[in-house]
Symmetry: C2
Subunit: 152 residues, 2 copies
């Protein structure tokens, strides 16, 4: 299946936007963007990417699969850490190049140990007036020890 997408190729802009067929518009690397939110809190947990196989496996299984751009490999979220994601709802955007997963996240989404990958605030306006010297504010606490979770 890796070299043969189970999805039909995308059609016109009108078909993509107003059609009822799932015809993902994969980019030059064969990927769509995946935004993952906590189904209970609404917090954005992470952003990742899916190739056709990852998207098909996610639809089939109701568990989140992704494609790692750095490792060039399919991966199931939580396969090492146990921090899996059960997909409660899956949506596709207007031009079908991004998906939104609402998930039940086991323990935490971020490999650094935080619940969400978005654990730092960027100050805005005067406080961030020199973008080259922005000091981030940490807003997310560690909820697990990454060294322990990823030890084989």
């Amino acid at each position: 299946m890796s070299n043969q997408s189970p999805f039909a190729p995308p059609g016109s802009a009108a078909d993509l936007e107003e059609g009822a067929s799932l015809t993902p518009k994969f980019d030059a690397d064969g990927l769509v963007t995946a935004v993952v939110t906590d189904a209970a809190s609404g917090e954005v947990l992470m952003v990742a990417h899916m190739n056709a196989e990852a998207l098909a496996k996610t639809i089939d299984s109701g568990e989140a699969w992704y494609f790692s751009r750095s490792r060039r490999a399919l991966w199931k979220k939580g396969e090492t850490s146990g921090h899996t994601q059960r997909v409660v709802e899956l949506r596709i955007d207007c031009d079908q190049d991004a998906v939104w997963l609402k998930v039940e996240q086991a323990v935490a989404a971020c490999h650094t140990g935080r619940r969400s990958c978005f654990y730092r605030n960027v100050p805005l306006g005067k406080a961030g007036a020199k973008p080259g010297a922005v000091t981030l504010a940490f807003v997310g606490e560690r909820v697990f020890d990454p060294k322990a979770a990823y030890r084989k």
Copy 2:
């Protein structure tokens, strides 16, 4: 500024993840992914991209600026439609290649007229067992007439 980023280059993985400096990791096209949620409802409104200039303008102004990959141009959200985004909170993710904007969205985010670009559900499990023949369910209503909003 277009050819000179106001941000320092990204450092090591440890610096990116645990540092308090904003050093975005722009991709080969000079972009980071931007996830935009409604500050009130938590709904994911859209996914877009920012180059260094768009990110710096967003930080400076507290209003959302993006970079259009198709038009290869900087754009301010709402510059044509009036559907601007006031940024309530801006976060950066662990490896600093994605940002999360919580915004106050004027009228609607999607150019098709819906509040969110994610107005279609993808059925999961048995209902979506043949990914090549998935029928999407529309869950978002039009809240404005795109023909009127984008008429010059």
